[in-house]
Symmetry: C2
Subunit: 518 residues, 2 copies
């Protein structure tokens, strides 16, 4: 038995049974060992950013880590952007990074780089195993570290000779990580929160793991009982939504509006989230969003027992049950395809149980409203701001679940990790991808104005325009084996969505918007 | 005048007049300032790995840095793999990385990350400007640092408020870097080299900047006069080739063959290169390629005066002129498309002056032989082993030069940075791309065997197979605006290549090989 076999056996023993892989030469023994690890599902990705984003999506759905298999420093770097998003989503994730043999590293061969320093930038957990005999224990520690709490990116570096080397003593039982309990709530902080909720103008601010329907329902009871506002972070890792599910008010992305949203609050009680801050700085707009003098109470930090905290609040405040709002879903739209009718088409057709991966950016403005009373579903967003998360996260969510996944992409963002489409086709995953074509970086056109820059010249405009030449999004999908259709009206989009939901496997729908629309 | 204006003025004053850009919100003032910087050519890339690879290609052709424009940590990370290749190519390159405003960084907003640590992994030069007044001086220092010698990756971090902030005092003259002279040759080392060449079985081993036709010709005189072997590194940054150009023997990629190539040498004299080592480690194959006891003389390290060293060797050894071999180019092949007939088709059609960016990997084995007597051309290869260099480097080379560029890609490697095709179309660049389709990671199938792993199972085979579904390479190009054609025989490939060379603008040729062929 070699190191790779021991590693795979340990992963299987820890229920890590999916590996999103983009292997190279130094990972060949790991790849070969997959033939003897039937419980591990190896899924080939054609670019590492697809593999890491897929592991993020998998973890968002299951709460447990998938493995990635990456090739030395460049592989880790190619996967870094979506690992950044996973870090911000605080999900457990396990990178296996193949590296040069231990005795080869000092030779500074072409692929040599400082993998440890690169991994350190992810602010998670890192270990480079140097002996085949240590591999099982290190792998179990990696899984443990990935769980946190809160979840984090664990990176296990696997030198080639550690992978191919013989394991001296095969243990009778492979080491196992234990899934940790969430962190306990601090009692004095809880008392402060209770006092504030009873006497001050409060906002209960939810994020992270606190956006399940059970918890938002509890939070709504607390808010009703104390006349507090119920808010949530702008970019949720995963939230339950739909008719009959509580719907906290989402913090607005644009700082000036967010400041306005929060300006009446004397106290903000955080549950599962950190203090909200501006996504970017802008001239003459504050970076901190909470008003001057507003007290921040960090009741339940990320990784803590948010459910317990909310239950305890309900109990302490004797907060009565509240009726959760139900409503009719949006009617199917007709006519021109706009961001409004796009949102309405999604809302009108969304089947129960769908998982949405939303990277529609400027096209997303109307989506939350239009899907408010759709059947129950889950929504995942771009937690770390690193573009290119949508397709890979949708891929990983589909691997993790039997449920249909709806990926909402824009042309600009789709181009970062479009290779995910091929893996969706290969694995026959039930993913509906809507590719919104507005032929521009519409969000940047908006930002160019917002930062106070002038827009009168051709050079700057050309850096934000995607229309020369026009990207044929549906052809990009077809070329990777995903059936594609183009919708140029709201009616066509409704039909395409309905057909896609009724058809097993992936489907790509290009939604052609007026140019530059946002 | 704001910081962005001062930065652009300084870049223009330093003849940095191309910027491969993938901007975001924090770079909007830089983008807006392009309207007032007519000498700067902003070129939009749809993924950062395209931008950095293009800057590498630009530098390989011109010897001077292009700028990139990247968006915070994720932008730098997405560009990292091709920056690694540029680092190994030792070319000058200037990253401009937009970042949060100085006062915003401590808030840990979603896009916050440790950009300095990330840049440190590139082992080049780093500066984060904190005042608009410092920006011009820092930019000039960055250009200076990029030049080396040897060339390196310089990263200038541009916080948003430094970009939008007013410059207090506008200098009458923008600061300028001076292009440095190459490092001097060490005299005692030169004497050792002379003595060795006169008395020992020597190999003259060329690399880096020493592969110009002038220098290889001098090196061939030295080799002939001393009965030494003339070798070159496996992966050249750029080399002159063709009929009438000296042709050093290329070190073989596979370590066991390279060891055999070097085994007779008592002394290896390095010119422009470092000691050759195994690209990867393999069980039971040495990682150092030079024989036990072989003396290594580092005559002219990377960044030093390799031309001067070779001229001095010729003079000291009174090495007579030698006739440079001329020959007939390969005849056009016919019949089945194989790696042999592919190579012959390239050799039979290559016009004079073409710049080749070669990432054809397993399909490249016969290329050097088949193009040996083609008209004079230049050849660029994958210096750092990070896949996805070919299309971006070809793009950058075409921007840098009026000459036709030929990019040789494989299906596996093409998928890493295929977004480069769109920019080729947008800029109307004279690039011929041959996409070799063998529907597998053929190099990994070879490596799987080489590392001693078994191949009898389905799980491992599936991680190396690209044929389910088949990627339609020409459709991927067409969808991005590049005219495409498919060649299924050697005859069709010859016709397609000839047509492409005669047609302005980019063209994509899918060369369909038998599956898995290498």
């Amino acid at each position: 038995m070699n190191g790779a076999h021991a590693l795979l056996a340990t992963l299987e023993a820890n229920d890590v049974d999916v590996c999103f892989a983009n292997p190279g030469t130094s990972e060949m023994h790991f790849v070969a060992a997959l033939d003897d690890a039937p419980a591990m599902r190896g899924i080939l990705c054609l670019f590492e950013g697809v593999a890491t984003g897929a592991a993020d999506g998998y973890a968002r759905v299951t709460g447990t880590p998938a493995a990635t298999l990456l090739h030395l420093g460049p592989g880790l770097a190619n996967g870094w952007a979506n690992l950044h998003n996973a870090r911000r989503a605080r999900v457990p994730l396990l990178n296996i990074v193949g590296d040069h043999a231990t005795y080869h590293a000092h030779l500074d061969a072409p692929l040599q780089s400082n993998v440890q320093l690169l991994a350190d930038t992810l602010e998670g957990w890192y270990c480079r195993t140097t002996s085949s005999d240590d591999l099982a224990a290190d792998a179990a520690r990696a899984v443990q570290a990935a769980f946190g709490p809160p979840g984090r990116v664990a990176t296990l570096v696997l030198p080639a000779d550690v992978s191919w080397g013989d394991v001296g003593t095969v243990p009778s039982r492979w080491p196992r990580a234990t899934r940790p309990a969430p962190l306990a709530i601090d009692e004095p902080t809880f008392e402060r929160a209770i006092a504030a909720l009873r006497s001050k103008r409060c906002a209960l601010f939810l994020g992270g793991g606190a956006l399940t329907k059970e918890q938002t329902s509890l939070a709504q009871r607390v808010a009703s009982a104390t006349s507090s506002r119920l808010l949530m972070e702008t970019f949720a890792t995963k939230m339950d939504r739909g008719s009959g599910v509580a719907s906290p008010e989402r913090l607005i992305y644009l700082s000036e509006f967010a400041v306005d949203q929060l300006k009446e609050s004397e106290v903000i009680v955080l549950v599962g989230s950190t203090e909200p801050v501006g996504f970017f700085a802008y001239p003459n707009v504050p970076s901190r969003l909470v008003p001057e003098g507003c007290e921040i109470i960090q009741l339940a930090p990320p990784g803590s027992d948010t459910l317990g905290a909310l239950e305890a609040l309900v109990e302490a405040l004797h907060a009565p049950a509240v009726a959760l709002e139900r409503g009719e879903r949006t009617a199917p739209p007709s006519g021109e395809l706009t961001t409004q009718s796009f949102a309405a088409a999604v809302g009108a057709t969304l089947p129960a149980g769908v998982i949405v991966a939303d990277e529609s950016n400027t096209s997303s403005v109307h989506l939350f409203g239009a899907t408010r009373f759709a059947p129950e579903h889950q929504w995942m967003t771009l937690t770390g701001g690193a573009i290119g998360f949508g397709l890979p996260v949708a891929l990983g969510a589909a691997v993790a679940s039997k449920r249909r996944v709806l990926a909402l992409e824009s042309d600009g963002s789709m181009m970062y990790t479009l290779q995910a489409l091929w893996t969706m086709a290969r694995e026959g995953l039930d993913v509906t991808v809507v590719g919104l074509s507005n032929r521009s970086y519409a969000i940047l056109n908006m930002e160019l104005t917002r930062v106070g820059a002038s827009r009168d010249g051709g050079a700057s405009a050309r850096l934000l325009d995607l229309d020369d030449p026009t990207l044929d999004l549906s052809q990009l999908a077809l070329a990777q084996g995903v059936p594609s259709v183009r919708a140029t009206s709201a009616d066509e989009l409704v039909v395409a969505l309905e057909r896609s939901y009724a058809t097993p496997g992936p489907m790509f729908i290009e939604a052609v918007l007026p140019k530059g629309l946002h």
